[in-house]
Symmetry: C2
Subunit: 357 residues, 2 copies
């Protein structure tokens, strides 16, 4: 408990490696509770009800989850172990069917099963636990690399603005958009962060402001509609945001409101960087126009957490979860392999070739 930053090992094994341990993010920012889970209903429910959220964190939770949930069959016949694996995989896939990383991680775990040539359930179980550990370590490494490239853009005294939570709570450690901030803070640099609250679900207020503040980083919470004002006032030197999906032309899909931050940044000549692990680049999508925006339920806007109604009964609501930031508003895309600058298509395709993506 000495190093506050260590609290945010968002998803991990427990000490005995027989349970999935997560921070229950639905209780933040009021309570910091760790949950150890060994049964499939609890793990399914944790993903489904957003106790664990953020694309990378979901993937790692699913990987550790299936490694843990198949443990009881480590003494069974290999066929029984494999069929249990398949059953649990299908079950966990229903916990959040739109989460790309959930499927990505479970598929990767399945390849371990498919590629196993031995006869021992115990050995295969060990391989699954190892693979989950590797997936987790890789996520930390990717975030750290993004942080290192982002750090090169920072100077002492910088004001930084971010939107939503692409923080350590969305990943395992460091986060993506927050990684440069954590590394700067570790180096003792003075930085000041403005966190957009991010309506309707307030991930910026509840999660980003929480984790940065807990790590000792000087953080100011603002409403989404205030970001242009702090930019105009000269308080912001650089912007880092995460992203859900990057198209080949560099258009970036991220939490609703991101594109308005980018537009304000452009007007005020403030560099706007998208922090994107290469896993979020969708090579099948030419531009942001092809991305279908998820719509969520009206109650998130009209009722969420409120004691009293905040909008008239029966009012029509439109609640898009994401928006697309046009590539021309983006200064650079920070990946674990370096920063891509315009023209983005050229840079993205070069990266694909160089790293076999």
């Amino acid at each position: 408990m000495e190093n506050k930053f260590d609290h945010f090992d968002t998803v991990d094994f427990n000490e005995n490696k027989d349970a999935l341990r997560i921070i229950d993010q639905t209780l933040l920012p009021t309570e910091l509770i760790m949950l150890d889970m060994k049964d499939e209903e609890s793990i399914w429910d944790a993903i489904h009800t957003l106790k664990v959220r953020g694309a990378p964190a979901i993937g790692v939770a699913a990987a550790i989850g299936i490694a843990i949930l198949t443990l009881p069959k480590a003494d069974a016949e290999l066929e029984e172990f494999k069929s249990e694996f398949t059953r649990i995989k299908k079950y966990l896939e229903t916990s959040r069917p739109t989460a790309v990383n959930l499927f990505w991680a479970l598929d990767r775990m399945e390849r371990v099963v498919d590629n196993y040539k031995g006869e021992s359930s115990k050995q295969l179980s060990d391989l699954l636990i190892e693979e989950a550990r590797v997936i987790r370590e890789e996520d930390i490494e990717v975030c750290k690399k993004i942080g290192e490239y982002g750090l090169e853009l920072l100077k002492d005294g910088y004001g930084i603005l971010t939107h939503c939570n692409a923080g350590s709570l969305a990943t395992i450690k460091y986060g993506t958009a927050t990684a440069p901030m954590y590394l700067a803070h570790e180096k003792g640099m003075n930085i000041h962060v403005f966190a957009d609250e991010t309506r309707p679900l307030l991930q910026g207020a509840r999660l980003t402001a929480y984790e940065l503040n807990a790590a000792g980083i000087d953080t100011t919470l603002i409403c989404d509609n205030m970001s242009q004002t702090v930019m105009r006032q000269g308080k912001v030197d650089i912007i880092f945001v995460g992203c859900d999906r990057v198209a080949v032309n560099g258009d970036a899909c991220n939490k609703i409101g991101t594109s308005m931050v980018a537009l304000s940044a452009k007007r005020h000549n403030i560099p706007f960087y998208v922090c994107a692990p290469t896993s979020t680049i969708d090579f099948s999508i030419e531009s942001g126009e092809e991305i279908v925006i998820e719509e969520r339920k009206p109650e998130e806007i009209t009722d969420m957490w409120y004691a009293e109604k905040m909008a008239p009964a029966g009012i029509k609501v439109y609640n898009p979860a994401f928006d697309v930031t046009d590539a021309d508003l983006i200064t650079g895309i920070i990946t674990e392999y370096g920063i891509i600058y315009p023209p983005f298509k050229e840079g993205i395709l070069k990266l694909k070739e160089e790293h076999n993506l």
Copy 2:
């Protein structure tokens, strides 16, 4: 009760002309309660606690208020009547010291007292009641004129976006930004309005969405960070916003977030109009740079109406109440005397000359 729109006679005399009648806006959107007030503490409190809010509505409430509160002295000696007027004026001025219209309306009432040459308290009291009535009627007329000029910009089927509440609840009737919408609706035109919720106090969700919906206008509530997305999707044909202050160069100070709407409108080639009674033009201010932005308390962002905390305890908060929209982002400024187009300075000074402002 047949014509829903009539509910929103926000500020008026009661039928007997012996009480100030207002809608208690702090109870919206859950309850629509009219308050009749005859004593000075109630009226002071109504202004102080935002039961009545919106610059024009505050002015009218103060004018009617002082006319009502001096009524009991209508049988007294003139000197006693006048000194009671002065006492109450000073008292009401403390109810909301930053509200320009409060002082403007009370000063105008005082001129009636100063200019009175007769000897009868009763007669002077009648003149005050008449002046309050005229101030109220003038506000309705100004809003209606703005509505008529705005209406000329609308076509059947238009999508309209607005921010905050420059609606009939902020004035007496019609509102400013909403006046074109009400007149279009009265004419049977099909319009569709997107109302930004307007964090932190949610005037858009609680008031604008409420009053437009109650009037039968097709209204959709969105979060502030969604306005660019609905513009990008082609759902918005024109934008009307109110304003608190216009500088001589056309820069407009309005509720925080307005400038981000304007910037998005510019990017998507959507006309952006500021609805501004000439009383909001500040001829002493050359540009928006000179406007000092009021900062409000952090709890509005971290705690407002919430059952649970929505941000970590002790988090730093920046909460500017207004922002400045640069003149180059504004298509036109709609006043009661017509629409001013760029170059704004020329148009504004011409208006000043023509109408002795």
